[in-house]
Subunit: 555 residues, 2 copies
């Protein structure tokens, strides 16, 4: 026979270390078979139920602490519940000693004025408040806490951006600043690879692998998992990229994230291109547009991201963007159009197509291009009673003239697919038209051709290429090469508008204030950093009613 006893404590705050230690203490008591010590959220109640630790008769609110003991006898269970206060008190006395422990952030700052960093790991509902205070004190924030609202994240990051401060997080597990790991971090040697990580274990896996390959890390800046979603707009990632780009000791940057929102991916890739520094990008699950575009390299796994970053990367030329000019791609080959769109969408925005990859790229009227546009002229829409554009160039020639008449167009891209079945001399038919366009067109207009063919094809591959080149066209043999060319020319060139993060602060010996998990303080000290731990308690000891009363009284 087993007996379950429980105890509900309303409206009092305990940190999660205390709860874990209480649970372990209860499990060590005689006769105790299992124990659960949790905040009584629905998720936690379901977990208790899964472990057969939740009798139906328990009622508790999500803010209540729920202590459940399963024992072999009634007496063992009662005794265990009776020991809860004693176990909680024992925990107190075992805490790491510190001569003087400040109870507030402002007091901690007075004690360690050189601290530029505040680590926050208090429960989510309090975390935004502490972060706000830290920003007001002019400190960078490492926000480990989760369960912070999106609204709070946006407000904190906007405020930080104005001040030139970083908010890493919320739910930021990992950072390494100037050789000191914050939160969860592997011990890695210093080196010249910088990391911008929107994922905690992603950053750990990459930094550890870089170390294991013999290289090292300058700084690893975390952003939190939501930073690269449209709502937040990659504020922290953009700041981090900017400060690492300005750091001469950072030679290569690795950018890791779960799949960003497409608009964010494009803007970050553009920002990365602008740095001119070798940057390795791994957006997990985002199809890489190419292995390499200018200074950018795209990885397809965490380990590969590390390997590429360690490999010698040469500086590449900074893209020569030509603003407010568009590329129009007029393809006979559907797959070539698709692969080109896939490659371009990473660095060019907005881009439309009648064969879109995502719905927001849909060109509703295939007869009229908008902004950057890739058209598949072999689409069924065009094909009723008409020969395929590989055989009959009429449709494409008309469309070329139409695109050239648009002064916003700076490049016309097209494919020339040779081989059996295709037109016997496509270059011969296209070149006079392009010449005619060039004679009447004012302003720069580049023609780029992707030629697919072999030296056995009936059209004579070399003669087709020569004709196109003689006609002034830029000729590529694969869509991938054309994508790189176009990305470098049209990649977005928007100036980022934010107060730059102070690079010197990143490079000073790390000094930090820790609010929340004491183990993070221990870890800082063991790494040789200066740190102060705040003996933080929630307002009014976690009693929400009292806290809200106090807030109103202050006003």
């Amino acid at each position: 026979m087993t007996v379950i006893k429980w105890n509900v404590r309303a409206g009092t705050y305990y940190d999660s270390v205390v709860l874990m230690q209480l649970q372990r203490g209860l499990l060590e008591l005689p006769g105790v078979l299992d124990a659960g010590v949790v905040m009584a959220t629905q998720a936690n109640r379901d977990l208790l139920a899964t472990n057969n630790l939740l009798p139906d008769s328990i009622s508790a609110n999500p803010d209540d602490l729920l202590i459940v003991v399963k024992a072999d006898t009634e007496n063992s269970a009662t005794d265990a519940i009776g020991k809860v206060d004693e176990l909680l008190a024992r925990r107190k006395s075992s805490s790491v000693s510190q001569d003087f422990r400040p109870r507030s952030l402002s007091a901690a700052v007075k004690q360690l004025p050189e601290a530029n960093w505040v680590l926050i790991s208090v429960p989510g509902r309090y975390a935004a408040g502490v972060a706000r205070e830290a920003l007001e004190l002019g400190k960078h924030v490492f926000l480990y806490s989760d369960n912070v609202s999106l609204e709070d994240e946006i407000a904190l990051k906007k405020s930080a951006r104005e001040k030139g401060l970083l908010v890493m997080g919320p739910d930021c597990g990992t950072a390494i600043i100037n050789g000191i790991g914050l939160g969860f971090a592997n011990r890695v040697r210093r080196g010249s690879i910088g990391i911008v990580g929107a994922s905690g274990t992603g950053t750990q896996a990459v930094t550890a692998h870089i170390h294991n390959l013999g290289s090292g890390i300058s700084h690893a800046i975390g952003t939190g998992g939501r930073d690269l979603k449209s709502d937040v707009g990659a504020i922290t990632a953009q700041q981090a990229l900017d400060v690492l780009a300005r750091d001469d000791d950072t030679k290569v940057i690795v950018l890791i994230s779960k799949p960003p929102s497409p608009d964010i991916a494009t803007s970050l890739i553009s920002a990365a291109q602008k740095t001119g520094k070798p940057i390795v990008i791994y957006f997990i699950g985002y199809p890489p547009p190419a292995r390499k575009i200018g200074n950018l390299r795209f990885a397809i796994s965490l380990s590969e991201a590390a390997e590429i970053s360690v490999g010698e990367l040469e500086d590449s030329r900074i893209p020569q963007s030509s603003n407010s000019r568009f590329v129009r791609g007029l393809f006979s080959g559907g797959t070539l159009a698709y692969e080109t769109l896939l490659g371009l969408q990473a660095s060019i925005s907005p881009i439309y197509s009648n064969a879109p990859i995502t719905t927001y790229q849909l060109l509703e009227d295939p007869l009229h291009s908008r902004a950057h546009t890739i058209i598949d002229l072999g689409d069924e829409f065009f094909m009723v009673g008409r020969l395929h554009p590989m055989i009959d160039n009429d449709l494409r020639i008309r469309r070329m003239k139409q695109e050239a008449a648009d002064e916003q167009v700076g490049m016309i891209l097209f494919d020339v697919v040779l081989g059996e079945g295709s037109h016997i001399n496509p270059a011969g038919e296209l070149i006079p038209v392009i010449k005619e366009i060039r004679e009447t067109r004012t302003g720069e207009l580049e023609f780029v051709a992707i030629v697919i063919g072999t030296d056995d094809d009936p059209q004579n591959l070399q003669s087709q290429i020569d004709q196109l080149k003689d006609g002034g066209m830029t000729v590529f043999r694969t869509a991938t090469e054309a994508v790189e060319h176009i990305s470098l020319r049209f990649g977005s060139n928007k100036k980022s508008e934010f107060t730059p993060v102070n690079l010197d602060q990143l490079k000073q010996p790390l000094a930090a204030i820790n609010v929340g998990l004491e183990s993070f303080y221990d870890s800082l000290i063991s790494q040789g950093a200066q740190a102060v731990h705040v003996e933080w308690r929630p307002p009014a000891g976690g009693n929400e009613k009292l806290a809200s009363l106090l807030t109103r009284m202050k006003k």
Copy 2:
């Protein structure tokens, strides 16, 4: 001043070559400035309007032929329209001579009984009927025509699968059978690389690139763009993969497609694994699960797919699948969970997660796994008032026991993330639990650990690895390696159920019957293939009312 005149011809069929030649003929007449000859679909009417060739007063049905002439004088326009019949007649007499031109498919078969292939490029609304007839005659179909309904495609392919015949298409631009290009195809040398292509120019780009790299093609089998969507279920791609796998002269297979439906991607990847042959996969825009999984290699561009296939590929072991057993991943690291899920989703199905990549992977109750499951135990859902699983293993230990109690579970996967902030001896805490599980568990249960750490980490990396290995665990250092291990063990092992395509037919000198575009016939002949062109006309000369009357009379 310009004058526009037009002529509408209702219910008569002309093939698209005739229409193109009529338009060109009109443009050469004196005084003619522009001309349009189109079937009067909405798309074509809009195109005419874009070219200022569509006066408001024209009324025509989509099945009508619309002839528009723009000329400099009233007389020139009237004369041009008056020449339409003459121009149409001129075209007739210029057609390639052939001693005896059959007017039906069955007559053509009698003339060239060795023909195993029928090329169909008639207008979409007639194409399914011709294809059905070809299948009934026991012929493989190359279906170039577009605008064929999805229902027709499914019916044709199901019928073909039963008979061991291939339906390449509809909208199949390219194939190379036994050295002869069908439709659009580059001239490439024979060789040992086989292609299964759901995209026309994709196949052209890859085969041309392979040729240019010095290698060659055994067969390139097209499928049409919709084949890899759920509705069609990759019928042709599966058949093609199967027949090329059985062909000893095909040493490497390249599989190219626009992004397939996720279920189709999984089933094709599984089928590819089963072949044991080196297979290069490029699903354009589908994030590659890894560079390499067993005998599979994943490319990220058309040119790379060609390059990898040409590179020497060694045979890999065929996966040892253990049916009806599941993997359960219990991760502390969210990104590691995500990268693992991303890798596994390619070859394991169904797979669920509380941090899904696509909505259909969502594990609605994170407390209970289903089939294959990857759990992020650091998700906010679990984190209220609880230490992170990197610090506190309690949640994971309980879940391990829960998973082990499920007899369907064949593998428990977990990560061990070392470093600052993490538990000081995770292996020491997990191993006794795993031992305990092993002692009570009947049936095979593999424990696989992904260890992230460095030799400077406070936990002692090597000791953690040694402990895990001594405890009987399989240990990997990256998620990618674990993904390969798991994919090979759990990859789907479903038997494909279809009548195999006759390999000998693929390897005989190509003989084909061509219905539709005459240029395809010319191309076959110029490649040295045997071919017969059918002088095809639609039923009742394209008059739909009469055709339907005739059909009813036959019954």
